[in-house]
């Protein structure tokens, strides 16, 4: 039995704590600047001459590798370090409610960051006639991808009281899940592993599902993949937390 009011309370507290310091604003600026750099410099948005946002979204898995763990690293590590975890879990809150509340707060924050990139959509419309459905699907995919990285990060954060360690390990796990769908790596692995195995391995990767959504097909299987990564991250995080909270 999950008490949604508790999830809401934890979520609101966590969300407002982002804006207690200028850090949140700095973070949003870094996110937008990096996005612009990737899109216009590396993605050559203008030079390609196509009115679509693929050169914007194609970088998101790589961007989230560093951006999301920076958000998720403190979620539990800090509570464990300062001891507030003892306060939180002696309130009538279950592990899963606290986990979900924190996750939703961080996800909402990443959602705001994503919404702030909307001017690039207007740019595309100003320059040509892009496919609106593809853009909406891509935004959904990007948001789900961010949530998946976040749920991995939150589970890792539960396992340590050191934020730096949490950052490095979450980035490593997300990198692994990204590389499994990165063509040069996939081709190299094809020489080692049988095709059946490789197919399953690629299936597990972020880009495999993100690319599918980015093409404009919001397939149930891809959405289900991201949602199950999120649930798995939160669930394993709650189990880790239950084991280690006393240490």
């Amino acid at each position: 039995m999950v008490d949604f009011a508790n999830i809401g309370a934890v979520c609101r507290r966590e969300f407002s704590s982002y804006f207690a310091t200028p850090l949140a604003v700095i973070f949003l600026c870094v996110f937008l600047v990096l996005n612009g750099f990737f899109t216009f410099e590396l993605g050559r948005f203008y030079e390609i001459g196509q009115a679509d946002l693929s050169s914007f979204f194609v970088w998101h898995p790589w961007l989230y590798l560093f951006i999301v763990p920076a958000i998720s690293m403190r979620l539990w590590a800090e509570e464990r370090k300062t001891g507030t975890i003892e306060l939180l879990f002696t309130f009538p809150v279950s592990l899963f409610e606290a986990m979900a509340g924190k996750f939703l707060a961080a996800w909402a924050f990443l959602g705001i960051a994503l919404l702030l990139t909307l001017p690039i959509v207007f740019t595309a419309y100003y320059l040509g006639d892009p496919d609106g459905g593809v853009i909406v699907a891509s935004y959904c995919g990007s948001f789900l991808l961010a949530g998946s990285c976040l749920s991995i990060g939150i589970a890792v954060s539960a396992a340590t009281n050191n934020q730096v360690i949490a950052f490095v390990i979450s980035t490593s796990i997300c990198l692994l899940l990204t590389l499994l769908g990165y063509d040069p790596i996939v081709q190299a692995l094809h020489k080692v592993f049988p095709p059946v195995f490789m197919e399953q391995l690629t299936n597990l990767s972020f880009p495999f599902h993100f690319e599918a959504i980015r093409r404009g097909v919001l397939d149930v299987r891809d959405v289900f993949y991201f949602l199950s990564i999120i649930f798995l991250g939160l669930f394993s995080g709650a189990i880790i937390l239950d084991k280690v909270k006393a240490q």
Binding site: M1, R13, S16, T84, E86, S94
Partner: protein, 342 residues
């Protein structure tokens, strides 16, 4: 981890109903409660109870298991064995109900430093399910009780240690719980702040059940109605301060200063008084200092005084040793080794 508690409209009211049952008078009751961390027996089978109006002092050296016991009772840790009930709820099966009914100040009063005091208290109200209509009254009450009105819009991390402790107490009190568990509430505070916190505890004590841990003996004497001494995870003493003092070797020893012609030979007379175990007399100047150690039983100071008077001695001074808590504390806990227990 998924809450298994039985949902009811108001668990604390339910608990009060249970309390009306004469069999269940203890708000906190533990039976052979224990928690091991690997080979370390942090809490090793303790049983005690505490009722309304009682301030139970948990006393013990560092690492004795005081904090672990409190973490077990507040549901933060689960026990390795044994059971306990808080307000009639089982600490494992009905953990959420237990946590609804108690207020807890963890050791060192951890708080969300980046929050303002008012916002933090509002968060506690939300998570403690205090309805929006009663929220303002609840917050105002604890602000007054804890003396926080001057710092409401300061960030908690900018507050002094004393104020932070008060915020910790305020969050434990905001839902007006029947049971308060305070882990070293005065640790690290200056004497004035200690005094304030003790006054607050005494003011709350009347209609609540308070369990507090400390290693300050004077604090125990000042605020606690009963003392439980814990050493190496076990209860080694349980009683009021006066009861514990009787365990001191010097408890009941009568000290006298006598003068008079026969004062030097008074010791033989005194050792024949019923219940006297030992008499030591020593001349100091023109007086004789006498120490009378009773065996207990049928000893009375009255008989002793009569014996002195019958020898035509004059009593210049007489005092009965009450015993010292710190002596008891050391005697029963000093066997603790320093093996690096947490």
């Amino acid at each position: 981890m998924w809450s298994k508690s039985i949902q009811s409209q108001s668990p604390c009211q339910l608990a009060t109903a249970v309390l009306l049952n004469p069999i269940m008078t203890e708000l906190i009751q533990t039976h052979n409660l224990g928690r091991h961390f690997g080979d370390i027996k942090a809490v090793d089978g303790i049983s005690f109870g505490a009722g309304r109006g009682e301030v139970l002092g948990f006393l013990g050296p560092n690492g004795a298991g005081k904090s672990t016991t409190m973490k077990l009772l507040t549901g933060f840790l689960s026990p390795s064995f044994g059971t306990a009930t808080v307000a009639g709820f089982d600490i494992v099966e009905q953990s959420r109900d237990v946590r609804r009914c108690l207020g807890y100040l963890p050791e060192n009063a951890p708080l969300y430093g980046e929050m303002e005091v008012a916002a933090f208290l509002k968060f506690v109200c939300e998570i403690r399910k205090i309805e929006a209509s009663r929220r303002k009254a609840a917050i105002d009450t604890v602000i007054e009780r804890a003396g926080l009105s001057g710092v409401l819009h300061q960030k908690i991390e900018t507050l002094s240690k004393g104020y932070r402790r008060r915020v910790g107490l305020a969050q434990a009190l905001v839902h007006d719980p029947e049971i308060l568990i305070l882990d070293e509430p005065t640790d690290g505070l200056d004497p004035n702040q200690k005094h304030d916190v003790r006054e607050l505890i005494l003011a709350l004590a009347k209609d609540k059940c308070i369990l507090l841990s400390t290693h300050i003996l004077e604090e125990v004497e000042e605020v606690c109605s009963r003392i439980v001494i814990i050493s190496r995870g076990k209860i080694v003493a349980d009683g009021t301060a006066d009861e514990l003092r009787t365990r001191t070797a010097s408890h009941g020893v009568v000290k006298m200063r006598l003068s008079g012609a026969q004062a030097d030979s008074v010791d033989r007379e005194l050792s024949e008084v019923p219940g006297v175990k030992e008499v030591a007399a020593q001349r100091v100047g023109d007086e004789v200092a006498v120490l009378v150690t009773p065996t207990g039983g049928d000893f009375s100071v009255h008989n002793l005084v009569e014996a002195v008077i019958s020898k035509q001695c004059r009593i210049r001074d007489l005092s009965v040793e009450r015993g010292h808590l710190d002596e008891v504390f050391r005697a029963i806990t000093e066997t603790v080794d320093f093996s690096g227990r947490p």
